[in-house]
């Protein structure tokens, strides 16, 4: 699991007192009180297409290595639809790849749900903090989805989310594969008023010999209205799914 030794606890009190004012749209105050307020506009601090393991290397199993090498080969050949339907079709990148989104995103903390509202293609991802199950007449809950099912809770100042139920049609990043058994644990916390940390732990016994960690840092951005972004229009115009 992720080490938490670097936690700057001193920042916490400042945050708790300051965050509610940090962004205009919380002015009407639906966000839950008593937990840190992560709402705002955020963007990755250091853009990257790779989920970099804290330990240096992705601990592939032989099957994992094989699938990874196959993806690299397909990437070199430009056969994106054969391994990465986010690039070829604008399909939701899923968890945890969304953590690497190069554009901005908003976080909403409302009604027992944390919503990640991405500038890119209007993508959405949510963490359930306590919404009870609802009727499911078509059995949609039976099938895997790109963003899976994320259940979250607060541990002090940290939002902990555990995701499973992911489709095998997403990748960990632009190359690293996973299977249906993917489990992603995330720990979100403000390490400074305008700095959000996501410590990610990735488990998938078919692909990785052990759980591995990565850390992604986001910087708060000015409040903004996202322009309507339609990735499939870029694909139709022969442009890349992620705008340059």
């Amino acid at each position: 699991m992720g080490t938490r030794s670097n936690r700057p606890r001193t920042a916490l009190r400042t945050l708790l007192s300051g965050v509610a004012l940090a962004i205009g749209i919380t002015g009407f105050g639906v966000a839950q009180a008593a937990v840190p307020n992560l709402e705002g506009v955020w963007q990755i601090a250091t853009p990257t297409s790779q989920m970099k393991p804290v330990a240096g290397q992705v601990p592939f199993t032989p099957d994992g290595r094989k699938a990874y090498d196959a993806n690299r080969k397909l990437q070199a050949q430009g056969k994106f639809d054969d391994y990465d339907i986010t690039l070829s079709r604008c399909s939701n990148p899923g968890v945890p790849r969304l953590a690497l989104t190069p554009l901005r995103f908003k976080i909403w903390q409302r009604q027992n749900v944390v919503t990640f509202d991405y500038e890119w293609n209007r993508a959405l991802r949510q963490i359930n903090l306590g919404v009870p199950p609802q009727p499911d007449f078509l059995g949609l809950g039976l099938v895997p989805t790109m963003t899976g099912k994320s259940n979250g809770h607060w541990e002090g100042d940290t939002l902990v989310s555990v995701m499973d139920g992911a489709s095998d049609r997403t990748l960990i990043d632009d190359l690293v594969p996973h299977d249906y058994d993917l489990k992603v644990t995330e720990r979100y916390r403000l390490i400074a008023p305008d700095t959000l940390e996501d410590r990610i732990t990735i488990e998938d016994p078919g692909m990785f010999t052990t759980a591995w960690d990565a850390v992604v840092i986001y910087k708060r951005q000015p409040d903004v209205i996202f322009a309507e972004d339609v990735c499939l229009d870029r694909i139709d115009a022969k442009q890349p799914a992620f705008p340059k």
Binding site: F137, L138, L140, T145
Partner: protein, 137 residues
């Protein structure tokens, strides 16, 4: 003649309503009911390119040989619940599997249509009872 098919998952269409609970039914029907020729059942076999669960409808893509040339067709399928009731889960559908299907073809003449039956290489089979009720088979 029964070309009208009240089939809630067949909504490719505008039918966005799809993934959505019972309300989906009519929304999907409005466009899909006319899209398949329920009097005809064709069969095909080939390689499963992928199975897409969910919005705006579930569907599978079959790679088949047409006069020696590889082609792809999309076949609309029933709800996840329908598959589940017949003992099938997403993990049963492996990309690259050889499968056999029967289907009601698109009225428009494009390859593909609405699934009637499906057989997987592991012997598991699926019969679209929604399609059967709607007058197919």
């Amino acid at each position: 003649m029964n070309r009208l098919k009240m089939r809630w998952l067949a909504g490719l269409v505008a039918g966005a309503a799809l993934g959505v609970g019972l309300g989906a039914a009519p929304a999907v029907a409005h466009h899909s009911f006319a899209a398949y020729d329920m009097n005809q059942t064709l069969s095909a076999e080939g390689t499963l390119k992928e199975f897409r669960w969910g919005a705006p409808h579930s569907s599978l893509v079959l790679i088949y040989l047409d006069k020696g040339a590889e082609k792809q067709m999309s076949i609309i399928s029933g709800s996840p619940l329908l598959f589940s009731k017949q003992g099938l889960s997403p993990r049963d559908f492996k990309r690259g599997d050889k499968i056999k299907v029967t289907y009601h073809p698109n009225t428009s003449g494009q390859p593909g249509g609405a699934l009637a039956t499906l057989k997987l290489p592991n012997g598991k089979a699926f019969s679209d009872t929604e399609a059967a009720r709607a007058g197919g088979n």
